[in-house]
Every structure is written in C-alpha cells, then in structure tokens.
C-alpha cells in the first residue's frame, strides 16, 4: 500500500537519511526503532512532506510521487491519505478537543459541520475522552492531549497513521493510557507506522519491526526476529542498551 524507495535527506552537511526503503501493507503495524539521530523522525516527516526529501520516490496505492518535487496537489492527496501524531501533540491551542478533531474534516475535507461533529465525537469516545469534548488543550493532561492528537488522526480515516514518538514527551505514569489507545486502534486493523522507544509496544503490537541506525535500515523482521534473534551486531548492541532485563548496573 505504501512503498518508499531510496529516500535521501540532509540538513546542511549532515546527512540524516542515506537511502531508506520501506514497504507497508494494509493492516500492518510497523515499528521503527533506533538510537536518537538515526533518522526515524525525519523519515516520517518526509513521508508526510513536513520535510522535503532531497530525493526518493513514494507509492501510495496507485499514486506515484517524487518526494523531492511533488506537486501541491500530490502533497495534498498524500496528506489526505495519511495522518500524523506528533511527539509534542501539537494540538491547536485555540480550539477545543472536538474542534481540534473536526478542523481537518470541516476545513481540509469540506465535510458538513454536523457530520464532522459526529465523527469527531466518535473518535474522542474511542480514545476515552467522552467527557472532554469542549475542553481546551490547556486544561488537559499530557496524556489526554496526546489522545486528542490520536483522535484527530483517527477521525480523518486515513490509509495510514504516522506516529512520531507519541509517548516520548509524556510523564511515565501517562504513557500507559496512550499506548492502550494505540493498541486498541491497531487491533481494529488500522495501518500504522510508529517511531517509538516503547519496546513493549514493539513486542506486543507490531507485526514488523525495523531497526534504523545512521540513516539506513540495519535490520527488519518480525518482533521475534529482532528481539530474540537479531542478526546484526548494531541491533544487538542497541537492544542491550535499551531493554530493561539487560540492565547490569545499579545505583
């Protein structure tokens, strides 16, 4: 459904993506792991044209685009097919929870307001915020804000939802509620591409795990392949650093 071919991106002299290929089928939950600075977020942002790649091709269904110089129309089409969940939520602070969710429907997709409100309420119910329709983001906790962010993405009914470290900015005790919501929508068959540091999510929910380092895909496979029998030395090293059972030092 989504294929990315040979994507390159540099910021100044700093080459972040050095030719990444990616292929996602409908219903896949793909998790991208990797140390910070390995290009995971940049990859996601290039797919949604929040950054312009230096080169690379993308295929969405039967739509082919060049990631470097896509037309405005193609960018709009791809943004209609995708939704983005941000690390820092990026809710519209001047809009209530329900308005945050319906903004893209009413303005971006020209759906009538009443219908958009219904979709929006359903999306907020799904993430467990039935009692917060009319709350402004400043009155919500981080976890609640991120759940609104997820509802905003879900309501658009996209072909794929891109999650950019959705729990990294949250207090540890709020991570769980967001992961539960993500698990639920994954179980409904939503196609997801998730950059995260939550190993439990990668293990339990993903059907494919990609390990990136230094701007390239080092290894990919099922969660079992990656976590139990990694082949590459870099993957092993990374897992050793991040997996709790391998902590060998105490304070």
């Amino acid at each position: 459904m989504l294929k990315i071919k040979d994507i390159h991106k540099s910021f100044g002299k700093n080459e972040i993506l050095k030719g990444v290929d990616l292929s996602i089928d409908k219903g896949d939950v793909v998790v991208i792991l990797g140390p910070s600075g390995s290009g995971k977020t940049t990859l996601l942002r290039c797919i949604n044209f929040l950054e312009t790649a230096d080169s690379g091709k993308a295929t969405f269904g039967d739509l082919q685009v060049d990631l470097h110089d896509a037309s405005k129309k193609d960018i709009h089409t791809i943004r209609q097919k995708t939704a983005f969940v941000f690390q820092n939520y990026n809710l519209f602070n001047n809009k209530t929870a329900i308005e945050n969710v319906t903004e893209g429907l009413i303005i971006g997709r020209k759906i009538p307001k009443a219908e958009a409100n219904n979709i929006g309420k359903k999306a907020l119910d799904k993430v467990g915020l039935s009692d917060k329709y009319d709350s402004y983001p400043s009155l919500l906790s981080g976890g609640q804000q991120q759940r609104v962010g997820i509802a905003r993405a879900v309501a658009l009914n996209p072909d794929i939802i891109l999650f950019d470290e959705p729990t990294s900015a949250l207090d540890p005790e709020l991570v769980g509620e967001v992961l539960t919501v993500m698990k639920n929508i994954a179980n409904e068959g939503t196609t997801m591409l998730v950059v995260t540091h939550e190993m439990s999510f990668a293990k339990d929910v993903a059907n494919r795990v990609i390990f990136m380092d230094g701007g390239v895909v080092v290894e990919e496979g099922t969660p079992h392949d990656i976590f139990v029998s990694p082949k590459e030395e870099r993957t092993k090293k990374f897992l050793k650093r991040v997996l709790p059972e391998d902590y060998t030092f105490y304070i």
Partner: protein, 237 residues
Amino acid sequence: MSEGLNYTFLIDTFFIALSGVPITLLVTIVALLFALPLGFLLALTRINQVPILNWFSRIYVSFVRGTPIIIQIFIVYASVPLILSLFFEKYNININVYNINPIWYAFIVFSFSTTAILIEVFRSALSTVNKGQLEAAQSVGLSNFQAYRRIVIPQALVVAMPNICTATVNLIKATSLGYAMSLQEITLKAKVAANVGYNYVEAYIDIFLVYIILCSLVEYGFKLYEKRLRRYKYVSA
C-alpha cells in the same frame, strides 16, 4: 502677581481641545489601517526569512525606530512638498502644494512609523505560536493560508494585543506632534486658544485631561477585546 486658574477659560478650552479629538482619531485610525496589515505581512517576511523583503523590513525598522518622530515629521513635511511641486510642474498639474491639508502628511508619517513598531510586535507574537501547530494544521489538510487564519493568527493576536494597545496609545499621543505641521488636533487647538490670553497652564491641563480620557477609553476597549480573544486560555499553557 498670580491670579490663580482661569476656570471659565479652563472649561471653555476643554471643549476646544475636545473638538480636536476627531482629527486625532482619524489620523490614528488611518495609520492603524495602513500599519496593521503591512506590519503583519512584513513580520511574516522576517519570520520566514523571505529574501530581500526580510532585509528590507529589518533596515526599515531600524531607521524608523532609530529616529524621533518629530524629525520624521520635519523631513516629510519639508521634502514631500518639494518632490510634489517638481512632479506637478512636470505634468502641468495646477495644484499649489502649500495648500495641501497637513493631515495627508500626518497620514504618511504616522502610518510608516506605526508599521515599523507593529512589524516588531507581530514578529514577537508570531514566534510564540509553536511551529508544530502549523505543521499539524498542514498534516490535517489545511492550506498555509487557512492554517494561519484559523490557528496561528488567533493565537498570535492574543499575545500581540497588549503591545498593539501600547502602540495605539503611543500613536494617539504622538499625533500631538502634528502641531509642528499645523495639524488641527487636540494640542494645537488648545495652544492656539491659550495664545490669546496667555492661559497656558489651563490649556495644558485641558490637553492633559483630554489625552488621559481618550487613552483610558482606548485601553479599556482593548481590554474587553483581549478578554474575548483569550477565552481559550483558562490556564497559561
């Protein structure tokens, strides 16, 4: 040999000063109508680093901000007629440049100086709305224009409001310098009235009162508007 305040004159002149308010307000409003959109657009060129325009607005701000308004008035009031008379002569337009109402010069000076102030006001206000919200708006399918109009500007405006209010009040007060080019505003009218019987203290008190009433009303209006704009901010984010 002090005779105390001339109260009759004080009261009469108060109304004379008050009759200058429409001119003061007209200059203020015209300057704001010109400066608000232009200041906003030039602030955008600074934030988005638009080539040439960005450079232009920076120099423009430092020139206007770095010179006293009275000097700007003298320059415009002295140079524009010269340029215009050359222009009129060349094209045989039969207008005497010295009959032009000074209010036109006031429009020019105050529009340009307020633009410079508002560029800086909007620049700081726009940078308080994090770029992520703009990205989120784009990712849900809003165009840049829609994202600015619906998401960024409403929030930037709340932040800018106190400074826009200050700029407006400063502008109202600065129009008093219009007396230097015989603009028939509050200060000039009261001073002219005072010239007759040397009742300067009374005239100054009247000017003082008129400005303080006018500015307080404007401030109050801004406060109400700001309250309405910031209803989404129950707690600071």
